[in-house]
Symmetry: C2
Subunit: 219 residues, 2 copies
């Protein structure tokens, strides 16, 4: 287990827990690991959600298949990232997504109940673990809320301005860098890239903002 310590250290679930405590706790938590080959389905839609997954090596893809059989990719997770944590906390009877190995991957599973119900051994950092898991969920909730606020706007222009002013607020200043290139920004705003570019040009001409690359300045 120790060989993955560097991964645990960047996993938000183990934030502020010492190396030794991590190892001890993984025992208490009855964590188990598994290796999956490329394209293997780690968790399938419809299966009950019980375990939180952690990517120890490799990477996985979150996918979803709709009513008509069209598969869409919801995201990619790399080393240290968690999956299924919300579904596991809810004890959902059937997962709404599948998790598939992108490449040969080591995955760790922890029964969510073992995290939520503190063990008999009185692990000193069990509370921290609960605290961390709560933070992960809370952060996700807040991020989703912000995204909904942005993409619920009707036009590309409004979406863009809502996003940019949120950034300005966060940075406490009118000029800032965004963490996206144009295509990524379009994907985040859920709009067409070329239309987005056009709107940025227009806002620039109108004197509403300045922009060079991913650096923006609201006027």
């Amino acid at each position: 287990m120790r060989k993955f310590l560097n991964v645990f250290k960047k996993c938000p679930l183990f934030f502020d827990v010492s190396d030794d405590d991590i190892i001890t706790m993984l025992g208490c938590l009855k964590a188990r690991t598994d290796i999956f080959d490329k394209n293997y389905t780690i968790l399938s839609e419809e299966s009950p959600a019980k375990y939180i997954g952690i990517v120890l090596s490799g990477s996985v893809q979150i996918t979803q298949t709709d009513y008509y059989g069209n598969r869409s990719i919801l995201g990619n997770l790399c080393e240290g990232e968690l999956f299924a944590e919300a579904f596991a906390c809810m004890q959902m009877a059937s997962m709404p997504v599948s998790v598939v190995a992108n490449e040969k991957s080591n995955i760790m599973f922890i029964d969510c109940n073992h995290i939520l119900h503190t063990c008999q051994n009185g692990c000193p950092h069990h509370q921290q673990l609960i605290y961390n898991l709560m933070k992960v969920l809370a952060l996700k909730t807040v991020m989703f809320q912000q995204k909904i606020e942005v993409i619920s706007k009707r036009t590309t222009r409004e979406k863009l301005l809502t996003y940019l002013t949120t950034c300005a607020k966060k940075n406490n200043r009118n000029s800032f860098k965004i963490p996206f290139n144009r295509q990524e920004l379009a994907d985040y705003l859920e709009v067409d890239r070329s239309g987005l570019s056009a709107q940025i040009s227009k806002l620039r001409k109108e004197g509403v903002l300045e922009c060079r690359g991913n650096y923006f300045n609201l006027l």
Copy 2:
């Protein structure tokens, strides 16, 4: 405190906790209550998030003011509902929203840290409380995720079909009732009501679905 027991019983934070245990715990948690007059700002944007709020009587509005000073209403909360729980769990330095009393309202505040770090008294149901809070956050995460999946579609038609097929999946059958009237459905999908009505008619003519009121049947 006992006079609000009927409210606590429908509050998800106290699910599966007995009346007596609720009262005992509220002491341990150092919960405090306050009365706010209509239009009073209970929590203001920019103030640090520390407490989870519970509406004991009356109702509150979640609002947000953008860069240009436009205020928008994000939601209404009634008796038994929680607010600011995600922000408090994250210990956000400044709230991204305000909470305003819609009418004269009794509000209870609980320091989030008191929930997350179990007390010395060994309250038997403290674990249940943590578990419940986690479920609240997890449920919200999942609901937001589903909403994003729906409204990230580009056209009204796609949004509607994505929503309806999700409902069908949940109900395990092709016919079901939705919890919205047309205007509410349009608000949820973030589209124009009349355009939504037009799309429903079109899908009906194409033989894709049947519908009477809020009852739908996918063909």
